[in-house]
Every structure is written in structure tokens, then in C-alpha cells.
């Protein structure tokens, strides 16, 4: 049984339909990448999966349980965490407080151990522990956002454009950490503009356009598929 199953979801904002009959699945331990042009509805899929937007039709299942009516603060306790593309840290709070809030659903005791583990993954955050999060660079913010989302030890991590706005060197660092997190058994569902890179590291990929998923296949194969390349990877 897949860890996450999105089944025939249609949704949107107000009266505007953004997604039409989108279906996808993530198996335990997989990296799944969603690519597609701007406005294809990639981020909207994430919002529906995480309860920020209700599906008009269809359903979202986590471990076979229908979660499409649950609020985000309950979904997060079920083993799935989410890093939005923008505004993904509490800028007025310190780095340490951000991490602690990542484990808000967890009662006190284990928080220190989890924090130590995140500091091991991102040593930079430890150096900045007492700093106001809003004063950090883009790369550090992305690390903090990922670190906070990992505090609950999720089985599935949703990443919305983790490389957006970062310098090429930083992109490599972030992608490398994503792979490292995945090796510990965490499944990853990510949306990326950086399509070729993200497909190469993904076990499977989905190509979206106009609110629908069009092509599905193993990540590296999609990256080499001439049709996908012509349509979505810019040559």
C-alpha cells in the first residue's frame, strides 16, 4: 500500500479550478519529484495534500486513511511534514525556537535529542542557534525550514521548491542533504523548477501541465525522455 495516495483530486481557489483529476502516489522510502511549467498547479497539489486547501473532488490518503478533511495541525502528527516554498520559517523567532516549534506536537522530553540530530545534519544551524531566523541567508533559511520539518521524525517530507532562489552551490548542498535524509528512510515528495536535477535524484517523477498530471515514470528515464525534455526541460 502506498504511503501517500492522491486519488482523482480536483481543487482550486475560490471559483478558479487549478487542479483537475490529479492522481499520484508515494511509496515508503521513495523520492518522488513533480515537475512542470509555472502555473501547472504543482504547489497547489502540496497545499491539497497538507490540508491547506480542500479537494472539491477526489481524496487524499495517508496510510490508507482519508485525510482530506483534516486541518494541517492534525496531519502533521500523522508522520507527514511540509516545507512550503516561501515564508517557511518564523522570522521573528530564534533558530532554536524555530526547531522547537517544529516539534510542537511532541511533549517536551525528546525535543533535545531531535534538536541534536538536526544540528548534526545542518551544523550551520547550531552556530546560529540564538540568532533571529529572519536575519539568515537564503540557504540557511532553507536548512532551517527543512530542519524544523524533520523535528517530528516524519516518514514523508513534502518539499515545495527547495532550491528556489538559491545560488548554484547552495542548491547542490540542499539536494545532497535531501538525499541524505532520504537514506535514513524518509520518503520525499518534492516540487521543483530545477527539473533535470530533481529528476536525476528521484526514484519516480510526475510531469504536470495545466492542472493535470501528464507523464509518469522513473526519474532518470523522464530526465532523458526526449518528449519531456522538449516540452518541459527547455531542450
Amino acid at each position: 500500500m502506498p504511503l501517500l495516495k492522491v486519488d482523482g483530486v480536483t481543487s482550486g481557489y475560490g471559483d478558479m479550478e487549478v487542479l483537475r483529476d490529479v492522481s499520484l502516489a508515494v511509496e515508503p522510502g521513495e523520492i518522488v519529484s513533480i515537475i512542470g511549467p509555472n502555473g501547472a498547479g504543482k504547489s497547489t497539489v502540496m497545499k491539497v495534500v497538507f490540508g491547506q486547501l480542500r479537494p472539491w473532488q477526489g481524496r487524499v490518503e495517508l496510510d490508507g486513511r482519508d485525510i482530506s478533511r483534516l486541518p494541517p495541525y492534525e496531519i502533521v502528527t500523522l508522520g507527514m511534514c511540509y516545507v512550503p516554498q516561501v515564508a517557511n520559517i518564523f522570522t521573528d523567532l530564534t533558530v532554536e525556537e524555530n526547531l522547537e516549534l517544529g516539534a510542537f506536537a511532541l511533549a517536551g522530553r525528546e525535543v533535545a535529542a531531535r534538536k541534536a540530530r538536526i544540528y548534526e545534519l545542518f551544523p550551520r544551524l547550531k552556530e546560529r542557534a540564538r540568532q533571529e531566523a529572519g536575519k539568515m541567508s537564503g540557504g540557511e533559511r532553507q536548512m532551517l525550514a527543512m530542519g524544523s520539518a524533520l523535528m517530528l521524525d516524519p516518514r514523508l517530507l513534502l518539499l515545495d521548491e527547495p532550491s528556489a532562489g538559491l545560488a548554484p552551490k547552495m542548491v547542490d548542498v540542499i539536494f545532497e542533504r535531501i538525499i541524505r535524509v532520504n537514506r535514513t528512510g524518509v520518503a520525499i515528495l518534492m516540487v521543483e523548477q530545477n527539473a533535470r536535477e530533481s529528476l536525476k535524484m528521484a526514484h519516480r517523477g510526475y510531469v504536470m501541465a495545466n492542472g493535470q498530471n501528464r507523464v509518469e515514470g522513473p526519474g532518470p528515464e523522464l530526465a532523458d525522455d526526449p518528449d519531456v525534455a522538449r516540452l518541459y526541460l527547455g531542450g
Binding site: 517557511n88 518564523f90 522547537e100
Partner: protein, 358 residues
């Protein structure tokens, strides 16, 4: 670790767009330093005008100490106001009415509690303290009830800011009418004609023991609020929700619960402010309404949504209001607060502790 820092985008603005002299002058005039200098200048001007009118140094000093007391009372209201703004993002015009309600509810509790002897050197007995402790959570519950009946519905409809503000104004009039209906338009004192001796402190400062009590209690409560916001789970959740409500939900925070606790806290603090204001003067149905302007002035001066700023703003407003009474009719107090608020908005709209623009 410099390799982890993002390199500037190609063609990023560099020396070519160095600020012109005019821009630099404007930035300097809008800096925090400028606002601090202007506020200090206003304070100095007030003290100087008082001295110029032959007000004695002792009286001026006493007025300043009373100003700190008034500042403590304003701070209790202003902190609730700024917290509610931070979490719910609308100016709650009914906050003054909650201050009044707190004062009158404590008055009602005192009427039913057996009166004890005065706790010398203070003018009040233990029943006053009990009434304060009872009135605080009760006003918190009233604030929560208003949220459930009015504001939560507006939230669910994604109502605009104007609707929230107007609804809170309506609630202000509703609560005030309720107070008129129950207690009438008369003035009340917590203690009629009870001796409230003046203490003679060093430097010839003349202060009542009650006033010192108000200062100490106000600051103790403000300190507790600070600890609550920085050390407890709910406090951190409040700050997180104020900073980024969507992310707060994603991180597992039930923001509706945070909102509920914010109202309870805001209401309780307003009640404490009202009871202390009532103790220092008298109970009137308009008392909270007259505190509303100084409270907003303190909130804006400190930076909206910033509790520490609200405290600093409240102290400045309290001292200026009191010192101005050395040569102005006390009825002009709110006008002084208003002038400071306008000054802040002109110089630095984000206030002393506001983030934008450094």
C-alpha cells in the same frame, strides 16, 4: 563556511545605486535614533515648560513617578491590545470597554465579599485583592465569548480588516451600554472616604502607598507576560502564530486555540489595568474609553504587535501625560498621547521596535 552563502545575482545593484544625499537624510530622519531623540526632546520640553512656570522640582518629580504608575496601567491594556493585534491582525477598539468592565466587575465582587480591615499602609483590604483575582479571568472569558459569537464567524468568512475593526467598535459600545445599564452613570470608589495617607519618600517625592502597589503589580504582571511568551509552549505558539499563522498550523499548532488564549490573556490584562486605574482614581463608565487612545498611542509607539514595545511606549505616554498636568488641564491628557502618536506615525510608522527599515 563562506561557500554556503548565496552569491549575489548577476547584475546585482552595487556602487551604481549608492543612496543619494537626499535618500540618506530621509533614512536618517526615519531611523529609530531619530524617534528616540524626538521623544526625549518632547519630554525635555515638558519638564522645561513646567520649570519655567515655577513648578517645584519636588512636584515635578512626584508627577514623573505618578506618570510611571499611569504608564504601568496603560501598559497592562496596551500589551493585551498589541497581542490581539499580533495574532488576529486587527485593532480591537473594544479593549477600552474591557478595561472598564474589569474595574466594575471587581467592584461588584467587593460588594458581595466580606470587607476586611485595610492592609496598612494601603487603603484596601484583602477583599480588593480577591476581587482583582476574580475579575481578571472573568473578563478573559467575556473576551473569549465575544470572539466565539462575533470574530470567529468573521474569520470563517475571511472578512476584511475593516469589518473586524467595525465589529470591535460595535462591541465597545455594546459593553459600555451594558455597564451604564447595570451600574448607571454615577462615579464609584472602591473605598468611599477611606484614609489613603501620602508617604514621604526621599527627595520629597509624595506618593500614596496604593500608587506604589500599582506600579509594582503592573510591572510584576508585565514580567510574567514576558516569561509566558518566551518560556512556555503556549507563549511560543502565540509568537509563532503572530509571525506566520499558516506555518504555525503546518508545524502542528492549533491556531484557534492560540487565538482563544490570546483573548483570555488580553481580557485578563485589561481587567487588571481597569482595577488599578479604578483604585488610583474612580470608576466611571467612560474610564476605559479615555484609556483607549493612550493605549493605542503606546502600541503604535512601541511597534504594533510587540509587547516589549508596548511597555516602553506606555511608560513614555504615562509620564508625558502626567507631567503635562503641571501646566495643562488634566483633561488634555489624551491629547498629549494623541500628539505623540501622530508624531510617531509621521517619523517612523513602524514604531520604536518595528522591524521594517531597521
Amino acid at each position: 563556511m563562506a561557500d554556503l552563502d548565496p552569491t549575489p545575482a548577476p547584475g546585482a545593484p552595487a556602487a551604481t545605486t549608492a543612496p543619494t544625499l537626499r535618500e540618506r537624510v530621509r533614512a536618517a530622519l526615519q531611523s529609530r535614533t531619530a524617534l528616540v531623540v524626538i521623544i526625549l526632546a518632547v519630554l525635555a520640553l515638558l519638564w522645561w515648560s513646567a520649570v519655567a512656570r515655577d513648578v517645584s522640582a519636588e512636584r515635578l518629580l512626584s508627577l514623573t513617578v505618578w506618570g510611571v504608575m499611569l504608564g504601568g496601567v496603560i501598559a497592562l491594556g496596551a500589551i493585551g491590545l498589541t497581542l490581539v493585534y499580533g495574532v488576529l491582525k486587527f485593532p480591537n477598539f473594544s479593549h477600552g470597554a474591557m478595561v472598564t468592565l474589569g474595574a466594575y466587575l471587581a467592584f461588584a465582587f467587593m460588594a458581595v465579599l466580606p470587607a476586611g480591615p485595610a492592609l496598612r499602609p494601603f487603603s484596601f483590604g484583602w477583599e480588593f485583592l480577591a476581587a482583582l483575582v476574580l475579575a481578571m479571568p472573568l473578563v478573559g472569558v467575556v473576551a473569549l465569548a465575544l470572539d466565539r459569537v462575533v470574530y470567529r464567524r468573521l474569520r470563517r468568512q475571511n472578512a476584511s480588516l475593516v469589518l473586524f475593526a467595525m465589529a470591535s467598535l460595535a462591541m465597545a459600545f455594546f459593553l459600555r451600554s451594558l455597564i451604564y445599564l447595570i451600574w448607571g452613570p454615577d462615579f464609584y470608589f472602591y473605598y468611599d472616604a477611606r484614609a489613603n495617607p501620602v508617604l514621604d519618600l526621599p527627595l520629597n517625592i509624595r506618593v500614596q502607598a496604593d500608587q506604589l502597589f500599582i506600579v509594582v503589580l503592573a510591572f510584576a504582571i508585565v514580567g510574567l507576560v514576558h516569561l509566558l511568551l518566551t518560556r512556555t509552549r503556549m507563549g511560543k505558539a502565540m509568537r509563532a502564530t503572530a509571525n506566520n499563522p499558516d506555518l504555525a498550523q503546518i508545524r502542528g499548532i492549533n491556531t484557534e486555540r492560540v487565538i482563544a488564549w490570546t483573548w483570555i490573556m488580553g481580557g485578563a490584562l485589561a481587567a487588571a489595568g481597569g482595577v488599578m486605574y479604578g483604585l488610583s482614581s474612580q470608576l466611571r463608565p467612560e474610564m476605559g474609553f479615555w484609556l483607549l487612545l493612550p493605549m493605542f498611542a503606546a502600541v503604535i509607539m512601541g511597534g504594533v504587535g510587540n509587547p516589549r514595545g508596548a511597555l516602553v511606549g506606555a511608560l513614555i505616554i504615562g509620564v508625558t501625560q502626567q507631567v503635562s498636568t503641571a501646566f495643562l488641564n488634566p483633561a488634555y491628557g489624551p491629547a498629549v498621547a494623541f500628539a505623540l502618536m501622530v508624531l510617531t506615525l509621521l517619523v517612523r510608522p513602524q514604531g520604536l521596535f518595528g522591524a521594517r527599515g531597521g
